[in-house]
Symmetry: C2
Subunit: 174 residues, 2 copies
Amino acid sequence: MSQIAREAGVADGTIYLYFKNKDDILVQFFQYKTKQVFNGFREEVKKADTAVGKLRNLVYRHLTEFQSDRNMAVVYQSFAHHRNALVEGNIREMSKMYLDIVSEILELGQQEGSMRKDMYVGLVKRFILGAVESTINNWLLSRKEYDLASMAEPLIDLFIRGIGVPGTPPQNKV
Amino acid sequence: MSQIAREAGVADGTIYLYFKNKDDILVQFFQYKTKQVFNGFREEVKKADTAVGKLRNLVYRHLTEFQSDRNMAVVYQSFAHHRNALVEGNIREMSKMYLDIVSEILELGQQEGSMRKDMYVGLVKRFILGAVESTINNWLLSRKEYDLASMAEPLIDLFIRGIGVPGTPPQNKV
């Protein structure tokens, strides 16, 4: 804690006014960062008028945020390796907030008529989050050799259009 | 090791003929299990004639395998929590094998005309693997309250059709 206080340029005593211990610093940092990131997501989503536009902005912002914040990548990787009871609750909360934003977008899309009414929204929203997280993970494993944000458009394209050729007759279970 | 030998009903000395130590048992088990699982995947894929059928069989088999093998779930969860240098190479190899099987199916689909020629196969195959893993993960976190294999059809539907309504005018970046 003393070292942290030194780095921050404050007296030891001052640090303890705000944080109980090092774990507390981590938890508070996470909560602060989460609030910041999600405000950013909601802002980006508001900027678009259509459901697809909103989804695109959200995913693009998500990837850009990750790519530009080296610290986030380091922290993310450390939690990928070791589960941490301290921040698990926080991570669950973040997932729920993300899923709520995506849910709203999907429901808007259904109202607009741009997205299918016969989709399983519960599955699709998790599918979208899983695909974005998987993209980030692959980028980290590839040692960040390409522009992560450039994956946003291909992802959106996959979500919206799928991989099938429209008009192909349904192919039943073999 | 003695305890393991006892459980297996063999003498201590016999165990050491096959395994150097406990770590070695784990590694060999993984290699054996991987071979078994992937032979099963390839068999299922062969049973279908069309690309979509093959993809469906693969995903269905993947989810069924996971749901029916309690041990696999336990092992999987333990590696999700702590990275293990011993099996990391094995896990990378498994991912590569899975991606290769999916690649072949996507290329077949493109040849058949049932899947888009303008898709990024490199991204799509990882997207598909990521979505299936994410589905398994969510199922584990939900404490397995529903039938995992029943997620295969909705997943395939999402991959093939996407969530957009065909014929909606392209919605550009806002």
